[in-house]
Symmetry: C2
Subunit: 272 residues, 2 copies
Amino acid sequence: MNRLCVHSITTKPWSLEECLRHYPAAGVSALTLWRNHLVGRDATEVGRQVREAGLELTSLCRGGFFPAADQAGRQAAIDDNLRCIEEAAALGAGWVVLVCGALPGQSLDQSRAQIAEGIAAVLPAAQAAGVALAIEPLHPMYADDRSAINTMAQANALCDELGSPRGLGIALDVYHVWWDPDLRRQIQISAQAGRLLAFHICDWLTPTTDLLNDRGLMGEGCIPIAEISRWVDEAGFAGMREVEIFSNRRWAGDQQAWLGQIVDAYRCLYPR
Amino acid sequence: MNRLCVHSITTKPWSLEECLRHYPAAGVSALTLWRNHLVGRDATEVGRQVREAGLELTSLCRGGFFPAADQAGRQAAIDDNLRCIEEAAALGAGWVVLVCGALPGQSLDQSRAQIAEGIAAVLPAAQAAGVALAIEPLHPMYADDRSAINTMAQANALCDELGSPRGLGIALDVYHVWWDPDLRRQIQISAQAGRLLAFHICDWLTPTTDLLNDRGLMGEGCIPIAEISRWVDEAGFAGMREVEIFSNRRWAGDQQAWLGQIVDAYRCLYPR
């Protein structure tokens, strides 16, 4: 249970205070904060609240979205990522998760170049603040407008392209990469390069009725989560297992019951 | 226009007779038949009707779905594929498109092994009948229950694994593979091996509201169709450009107007 982290978006209807009250009571050890829970608040104070509630603060979701049609848009994205890094530092979060972005009106190659430029532009500030940046490869079904980085191989290549600098790594989410026949090898490559920062879990439902908000609870779907967890651990990863589930169906129900089901599913998946 | 083929499912509300009446009148040169249009009909007679209407009969959609939980299920799939091959031969179609299948309850590796076994089991009959088999890599969002073959690289590897036999090839659909950074190279590999059999076109809408039936008309979305077409042609492909669009929205409208828009979009995409 000391590796169980829950993303605040997983219980989206709850306020920050409700998350901080219910997560520790349910046995959750850590929290990844989504920026919507920071709006109008002081990040240093929120960091203190989280720790006083007995939770680790794993990471901040999310920065990224670097591609834009013009220079002003790309600069606005860089500025927003700099603010996000400041917030993460004030919170005491280990890293910022990057959903890298894509633009339907331009080629994936152009978006990929703008992503590399954007990361290079904000990395010095992240390094100075002691906050890492975690590139999250997104499922290819999000290549139109959410991320032009869609596989672990691409995320590894992007880190290499940027010189594999200190403070740049990868967030692996099983939802996005479970289908990839090259997954195990790319996990090993990322871990050997010391860049496997985060491990997100949830499940893929059959049928999936919404491209964004119809994720399943671990065990409800077809992702071999136990096997991928083993690969990740065998590669030397010892960090949090972060439950991140977007689900209109679950958000419509009772959140305390939902959190209980998450904890039960986690215990079933990781019995020791 | 002599390379314009339309899949009968693209105008799903139409009967076969309506397709045969309207497609040639609109300037369409060829038809790929979906099996629903064959139900209760004699395939030899349908093939004759298609040619009398002035259309080439490109291929038959679709075989595949080889994985199953038990041996009886896998044999039933093989039997159905043998019937599909017979139908294609009677029609005079060049190949059967294979949507290879997947089963949420078993690993992708198991499904991939069962796909290879299934293809190997039916290939001799296809070769004897002069009907090719075209493996269609499906988008990774269909890896749960439609296909465990999700990239051109996997399709090429599967052909290699089976000994790259005569009569086994690949159907490339831009919808499934447009996001893949390795696409151009894999097109070249498939063409050099003489196995690039089919080229399907449509577009990816932003947002996509349904995982199955919300495809766009060429030009409505973000797929670089002209660029991928160039790669395909440069690799030596000279076959049909097959319009295959599943769209609840389009199927709900007037099909003759829809066919007109398809022809306009095709002319705009391929002006010469």
